[in-house]
């Protein structure tokens, strides 16, 4: 089973891009599974189900979404494998820009959009900087030159990645992206694998539900601004 992690800022077009890739993979008769991670609510699982792919939804609720991801993804891979999927795609949003679901030796995709601003590539951490494939979306909304400037900004923070433009609405570029999905590594389990980058942590009183503001309520791993 080929497994890929797809991540990206909220509303960058992850689901649309994955749906277009699924369409292209289905013409090649591949059985596909998708795991959709979100925080509070998602209806994207229905969009996937409509395409006739196997889908699992995971909502992290009150937990840190990426910690939730990493503590569930191994079981998801086993699930995909047991269901004879040829492909398993995990979709998760990088909400704080410091999180990243990318795993060593597993093809990592980051979706980012042209409308997010020229400084955004610099602001996103390992989710973008350690991805193997960077998909830039919403290119139809801006001019060629702006697309190029944005792509060069992405290239600056992740020069080793393959950078592709995909239109999540028309599917332009999805066929080409699919040919890269076909080269993803083939695995049976995630046992023994490691994250590409450690996840951010806090372990302070607020992690345990504290709501009161004030010095006396702060315990644990606290860091102070230089003011």
């Amino acid at each position: 089973m080929r497994f890929l992690t797809v991540s990206g800022p909220p509303s960058s077009g992850k689901t649309s891009v994955i749906l277009r890739v699924i369409e292209a993979l289905q013409t090649r008769q591949r059985k596909i599974g998708v795991v959709k991670f979100d925080c509070l609510l998602t209806e994207d699982d229905q969009l996937y189900a409509k395409k006739g792919v196997l889908v699992k939804k995971g909502l992290s609720g009150a937990l840190c979404p990426d910690h939730y991801f990493v503590s569930n993804i191994e079981a998801c891979v086993t699930w995909g494998h047991e269901n004879d999927c040829a492909y398993l795609i995990s979709e998760s949003a990088g909400l704080c820009n410091r999180c990243s679901p990318h795993i060593n030796e597993i093809t990592a995709v980051c979706v980012i959009d042209n409308l997010s601003g020229i400084n955004t590539p610099r602001k996103i951490g390992p989710m973008l900087k350690s991805a193997d494939i960077v998909v830039i979306t919403k290119g139809d909304i801006v001019s060629q030159a702006e697309r190029e400037v944005f792509a060069s900004r992405v290239k600056q923070v992740n020069p080793g990645a393959v950078i592709m433009h995909v239109n999540g609405i028309t599917g332009q570029g999805a066929f080409e992206l699919t040919s890269l999905f076909e080269e993803a590594s083939d695995i049976e389990t995630l046992k023994g694998k490691t994250l590409r980058f450690s996840m951010p942590s806090a372990l302070c009183s607020y992690c345990l539900g504290e709501t009161r503001i004030g010095e006396e309520h702060q315990t644990g791993n606290i860091r102070k601004m230089d003011i």
Partner: protein, 332 residues
């Protein structure tokens, strides 16, 4: 020269010769001083806690810098000359063979015509992807008569194709001058200031209404945006092939625009339904049902009609300008 040649050299020299290194480091949130320290020592001495806060590992930072510097140095490599592009036909949506082999040379303009949804964009995409029978149409593209290196597909430094799409919107919060400079810098052109000046001048010659260097790009009119993008493409792009998805006729001198692109000795493919642009082309590919149904060579009679069409167009343009300047059109 490669990354490894730069590693032992002092930062003071490197930052002066390759200013993009500082830009690279600052994009990761790192500061660098142009001192006697070598690049290697700088990288080795970075505080691991700082790197963790910035969300990057030391090894990965070095790998990225390696890839980035080598990519930048590759920009100086001479471009592979493209003397011809050959399109070998595939199949239309019903599976009927296109049965054609078409060779295009620099300076030629090929128009692509056909209704919406007929497959014009797929043809442009096949060329951009340098298809090798691996796209839904089964078409193949040869460069200089040979199967090209697959590097053309993913290289951002040496792109085979520059595409001018229909949409000319801008969302970045920059002035025309700042934007063109940023674009020129991303291409590492020599003397970017001169290029910027040239592009703004050319754009103003193409646009019906002139704009200033400090005009925000988001407030340019449709015609001004198109003019800026065409001038930008003609002056900055090193790509030997240009794909154009229709030049809308409002607010821009289309003939001058096309002349500008042709002067740069590029192979121009243009999806258009504009009679003037279509007749200016050497050939027209008629797309139907996903395939190239017919190739029309511009005839002598058509060329003659082009002159009449241009007169008609100029007349309309003059009327447009009269409306713009507040005149009435009671006599035309």
């Amino acid at each position: 020269m490669s990354y490894y040649d730069l590693l032992p050299r002092p930062l003071s020299e490197l930052l002066a010769e390759h200013p993009y290194i500082e830009d690279f480091l600052s994009s990761f949130g790192l500061e660098v001083e142009p001192g006697q320290e070598s690049l290697q020592d700088y990288l080795v001495n970075l505080n691991p806690d700082l790197l963790e806060d910035l969300g990057i590992g030391a090894e990965q930072l070095q790998q990225s810098l390696h890839d980035f510097i080598n990519g930048m140095l590759a920009l100086d490599d001479p471009l592979d000359q493209v003397n011809s592009l050959t399109l070998i036909g595939g199949f239309n949506k019903s599976g009927t063979a296109e049965n054609l082999e078409l060779t295009l040379k620099p300076g030629e303009v090929i128009c692509i015509v056909g209704p919406t949804g007929s497959g014009k964009s797929r043809l442009l995409a096949d060329i951009e992807w340098v298809a090798q029978g691996d796209t839904p149409t089964g078409r193949k593209i040869l460069i200089n008569g040979e199967v090209p290196d697959s590097k053309w597909r993913f290289s951002t430094e040496h792109k085979l194709v520059a595409q001018l799409s229909q949409n000319m919107n801008f969302v970045m919060d920059l002035s025309a001058e700042e934007f063109v400079r940023m674009h020129a810098e991303s291409r590492l052109v020599t003397e970017p200031e001169k290029k910027v000046e040239m592009i703004l001048k050319q754009a103003n010659e193409l646009a019906g209404e002139t704009f200033l260097p400090d005009t925000p790009i988001t407030s340019l009119s449709g015609g001004q945006s198109r003019a800026l993008m065409i001038a930008d493409m003609a002056c900055l792009s090193k790509s030997p092939i240009v794909l154009i998805d229709e030049i809308e006729n409002a607010g821009i001198d289309r003939k001058k625009a096309l002349d500008l692109l042709m002067r740069e000795e590029k192979i121009v493919l243009m999806a258009t339904h504009d009679p003037i642009l279509a007749l200016m082309g050497d050939k027209r590919l008629v797309i139907k049902n996903g395939g190239i149904a017919r190739i029309i060579e511009a005839s002598a009679a058509e060329r003659k009609n082009l002159i009449a069409l241009e007169e008609l167009d100029n007349k309309l343009l003059a009327l447009r300008n009269r409306i713009r300047s507040g005149e009435t059109l009671e006599s035309i």
